[in-house]
Amino acid sequence: MLKSETFYNLNSMKTQKPEKLSKKPIEITEAVEKRSFALLRFLGYTLLIFSLIDYVSIFIPLHLTNPLWEFQAMAQMVDHVWSPLLGLTFIFLYNQTSIIQTKQVSILKFLSWFALAIGIFYLLLLPLGINNSLTLYKNINNQFANQQAQQQEQLQKVTEKLNGIKSPQELNNLANSLNLQNEAGSNQSPKDLKNRISQQIQTVAQNTSAAAKAANRQQIKNLVKDAVRINLGTIISGICFITIWNLTVWIRIIEKKY
């Protein structure tokens, strides 16, 4: 509406500069409609070019068979899917008054088939996405198990060291290294100190393990969220592209008349 107004104003400024009295409601002419549709189509081609650049940057460098990279690439592809979708939609936007050049017919026909190919490509990504999600899930769990085992080992070592200590001097050193404040001064018996240290170690270990568990849960939550988003995204985008192909059947049958 705004565009057509300016268009109208420009026209009026050019032609009817002296009389500024035209206060009639503005009527959209056929030419205006034609031009706005042409603008949309132009935008469609621009979007397609932009999405081409995007996709190239996603695929370079190629790390096929790396599950994490594939997962991220698919996420990016799902994120960027709106630009080719919109682009294709705009390109195929024609109204009654539009004229299609014969040269354009072959381009449009190609784009229609191209939409089908992209749709199938997105649908084919689905098994890969599910596969990679499972692999990543396994990796996270493995990593967590490894971490736990390592912590357990460390705890074991510290406890053994504590049990092996005999002299109070060493015990004090250990307490200092663990940042244990010797509240009651040095009048604490070594046995009490030992108990306190082992207690402290236990609580630290419990805390870290709880934190690790929470982090692991958070990771898995994120992964599940992403996996659902990506895998659903591939299905939806695939179906969208195939629908575009299906709805542009007119351009594919036009060709036969030529």
């Binding site: 096929l64 068979t65 596969n131």
Partner: protein
């Protein structure tokens, strides 16, 4: 019985009725001549040491040539006696030579058929008709074109093996197997395979491209889009089937017998059939079958009848070609591959032992460029308690590189000991090297010229000694081989016995220089 003979008579009459007009046309005789020559050429190809595996390809191209000739049978050709006689001369100069020369002489193998085809074209179509039938000539040239250089291009420029490894690892990964591609390796938890160029789809692509070229030339009505579609589908299918093959090999790498089956020619042949069938299916989609029928415009109302003299000439030519072919095939001597004698007597040295072996291919078995060791013999000599070993390998169709003795050693001493290449005037180049136990002298004995060590020297010898004017005439008349690509790789070795190698080298060198002429004369045994 009576009815039978009557029926027989009737069929005979009907047959003659059909056959007689055929005898009047020129195309009948031309087809006969072409087919006979095709049979002769295919016989040569079948016995060729390097090209015999490609015989299917030659058969297809000949079929294409004869099909084109059949299509153009209505064409009116104006031949003169001059062109016919000139053509006859060209044709018979080429085919009147012993068959074994074709297998030895690569130059003849590539260019001989072209000259013969030129002669044949002159006989059949005359000077003016040869331009109309350029497709036939093009097919023939394409048949003889050495395509193996494309392998090198695919291998070194396009990094085909890495690409194949990546794609096949990805397809395995897609199927849920835990595959990783690393450089040229496809790694699975169960094992890994290294992808060499000859395991990829490169060979399949070349085979399909050859088919595509044949189709493009034979069917002239194709649009550029169809041609492009054919070429790209050939490349695509070849590459894809190659990837599938590598993926399969990676999966079965632990099962030895399965791996051997799929890696051998049998399994490879299955994949080649798969590629060809899928290509044919795509072809069927790209070019509708009506195309083939539409090109055939049969006009039976006006058979071209030529005069009696011409027919007589064609009959005589055909019969001569048939007789020549029969004579050549009947008198064919198999290639004398064992030119190395059972014993070579050398003055002052006593022959102790001879060991022989036969036909062993160099390099990888699938390498089409590999020169073939035709025969090999090891001689042991003794003089005053001095042992000396003489090893000889007879090679054909070589370019004078890849010394078989140095290939057996993992670390190539030729690279370290480049300085140890010596030159003696009148004898040639040779390479001296040594390992922990023995000192060696190795070189390639040339049929003409001095001994050589590498390809550049070998080819230099070929150009200076083989391509001389005095040898051109005997070559044209089938008496000689123009570029003699044969070579006897020779290695002399002497045990070191804890002496410095520089003290042993003179023994080897004197042995080498004294006997070179004797060994060179071994090449004459072939005739």
């Amino acid at each position: 019985m009576l009815i039978n003979s009557q029926k027989l008579n009737q069929t005979k009459q009907a047959f003659l009725l059909r056959f007689q007009p055929l005898l009047q046309t020129q195309s009948f005789y031309l087809l006969g001549i072409f087919t006979t020559l095709a049979a002769l050429h295919l016989n040569i190809v079948r016995n060729h040491p390097l090209e015999s595996e490609e015989i299917t390809f030659y058969v297809l191209y000949w079929a294409g040539i004869i099909f084109l000739l059949w299509q153009n049978r209505q064409q009116n050709n104006t031949t003169t006696w001059f062109s016919s006689l000139l053509g006859l001369g060209l044709l018979f100069i080429v085919i009147f030579r012993p068959l074994h020369l074709w297998n030895l002489d690569l130059l003849l193998f590539r260019f001989g058929p072209i000259i013969a085809a030129l002669g044949l074209g002159l006989i059949s179509f005359g000077f003016s008709g040869i331009r109309h039938n350029w497709r036939l000539f093009l097919l023939l040239c394409m048949m003889l074109f050495p395509y193996s250089f494309i392998n090198g291009f695919f291998d070194s420029r396009l990094r085909f093996n890495e690409l194949t490894a990546t794609i096949s690892a990805f397809s395995l990964h897609y199927l849920g197997l835990n595959a990783i591609a690393q450089d040229t390796f496809v790694k699975l938890p169960t094992g890994q395979v290294e992808v060499l160029y000859f395991c990829t789809g490169g060979i399949l692509i070349i085979w399909l491209l050859k088919l595509t070229l044949l189709i493009i030339v034979v069917i002239p009505t194709l649009s550029w889009r169809q041609r492009l579609g054919l070429i790209s589908s050939a490349v695509f299918i070849g590459f894809l089937v190659g990837c599938i093959r590598v993926a399969l090999l990676a999966v079965v790498v632990n099962n030895h017998s399965l791996f051997e089956y799929w890696h051998s020619y049998k399994g490879g042949g299955l994949f080649m059939a798969l590629a060809t069938i899928s290509y044919a299916a795509l072809c069927n989609w790209i070019l509708p079958l009506e195309l083939l029928y539409s090109t055939e415009k049969y006009d039976s109302t006006a058979p071209v009848i030529v005069n009696k003299k011409r027919i007589l000439f064609l009959i005589v030519t055909w019969l001569t070609i048939i007789l020549t072919t029969i004579y050549l095939i009947a008198t064919k001597r198999s290639l004398n591959t064992s030119i190395l004698p059972d014993s070579i007597a050398l003055n002052n040295w006593q022959l102790v032992k001879v060991k022989s072996g036969n036909n062993q291919k160099l390099n990888t078995p699938t390498d089409t460029n590999a020169a073939i060791v035709r025969s090999q013999k090891d001689y042991s000599y003794l003089r005053n308690d001095q042992h000396l070993e003489l090893q000889m390998r007879y090679l054909m169709n070589t370019r004078g590189e890849s010394n078989p003795f140095l290939e057996q050693i993992n670390t190539n001493p030729a690279k370290d000991n480049q300085k140890n290449i010596r030159y003696v005037k009148g004898i040639g180049y040779y390479l001296l090297y040594s390992d922990a136990k023995q000192a060696y002298l190795t070189a390639c004995i040339n049929p003409r010229g001095g001994s050589t060590v590498n390809s550049a020297q070998f080819m230099q010898n070929r150009y200076t000694y083989d391509l001389t004017w005095s040898r051109i005439l005997p070559w044209i008349f089938g008496k000689e081989i123009l570029r003699d690509n044969r070579c006897i790789w020779t290695q002399l070795s002497v045990p070191l016995n804890e002496v410095a190698d520089s003290k042993v080298y003179p023994v080897l060198e004197s042995f080498w220089t004294n006997n070179y002429a004797t060994w060179q004369s071994l090449f004459l045994n072939v005739n």
